[in-house]
Symmetry: C2
């Protein structure tokens, strides 16, 4: 791959980072829309998501064009991983849009209780997303591997929240619709953390050439 192509790879990386930044903004806005009961903010997430979708198509097109130039093995892997990261970011953007949608639903009713665990889950998912992209950009497999156990923490917090919300519903059925909306919102945050984990796994694969998907996570850490 020549100098020109190297520049194209750098552009691909930059575009992916721009996409990741939009996804982070979308998640942050979705959660702020819930906590601050701000419907206007929630509706802005939709615009963010449209831009994320456009970036996905642009990145995909760039990647296909680069693959057509018969890249070196190392660059080939980089391009494929970039495409996979892109797909995960697009889905994380969809989840952020879903968070905003549930926020609008929840803002219509009286707040069930102060939101503590949900913003915490969101912070953790954002942190994972940020670190996995950082690992990709800096080429740091250690940082990527550090993301993997964080997903278990998010899962634990999610399960705890689920149990708590089910107790609420059983104790006072009048809270059922709100609890269901919160359950759906929390599930979306949990999926964002899953996408961050997928990205981290792809980065490890890129840097170490080892496939650590499907439960082999603990073997080398």
């Amino acid at each position: 791959m020549n100098l020109h192509q190297n520049q194209e790879l750098a552009e691909l990386k930059d575009k992916l980072l721009a996409m990741a930044s939009r996804v982070e903004t979308a998640i942050t806005k979705g959660i702020r829309a819930l906590v601050e009961r701000d419907d206007d903010l929630a509706s802005k997430v939709k615009i963010e998501d449209d831009e994320i979708d456009e970036l996905e198509i642009e990145i995909d097109d760039m990647a296909v064009a680069l693959l057509a130039k018969a890249p070196l093995a190392r660059d080939l892997r980089f391009i494929i991983v970039a495409m996979k990261i892109c797909q995960n970011l697009e889905r994380a953007g969809d989840e952020a849009a879903g968070v905003a949608k549930q926020a609008i639903r929840l803002n219509r009713e009286e707040q069930l209780k102060p939101y503590v665990d949900i913003p915490r889950m969101a912070d953790m998912a954002l942190d994972m997303l940020h670190r996995s992209l950082d690992a990709f950009v800096t080429g740091n497999a250690t940082v990527a591997r550090e993301v993997l156990p964080m997903d278990l923490e998010v899962d634990d917090l999610h399960k705890q929240l689920q149990r708590e919300l089910v107790s609420y519903m059983l104790e006072s059925p009048s809270t059922i619709t709100r609890c269901l909306a919160l359950l759906q919102l929390a599930k979306r945050l949990e999926r964002i953390a899953d996408h961050a984990t997928n990205i981290a796994e792809e980065v490890v694969y890129l840097l170490e050439g080892r496939d650590i998907r499907h439960g082999n996570k603990g073997l080398d850490t």
Copy 2:
């Protein structure tokens, strides 16, 4: 791309079909486990899912090896689409495993009511999956496009089921945990239909070179 590589493309296609067939079996077993209240069958879905995960890694490796051989533009696109289909199948397999898990949970309690809409949703999702793969194998864009509106039907059925289950919960709170399990199970079927839709969109892109993701579905149909 030479004759040898053509054979490799055919192998890639065959492996993808084998994977799709496992995913279909996993979904069918998961739903049968629920309807027939058969925990043994549900536990077999886990084995199926492990095999699906192995096939994903094999297909990915085959695709990367093929991409490294500087394929012609047309074949390049075929290989990339095969990788994307593979990823969607893997996630559909995960959803099938989730269906089986909820079936085990539901089988522990008295059946809420005869399952009608859930098997119907599953049949529709299976049909979509089958058709989108068929469109890929036969290179038929018309069949692929026919899958897209089916997703709307699944979404409608899903929303109807959600409303019904929420009414149940409100009327008799003792059904809450069962209703929640059914809601989660239905959500997984809805996601399987989404994956089938993604596959159909990829097939249209492969055959027509047009990207119809992100809400442009209705434009040309």
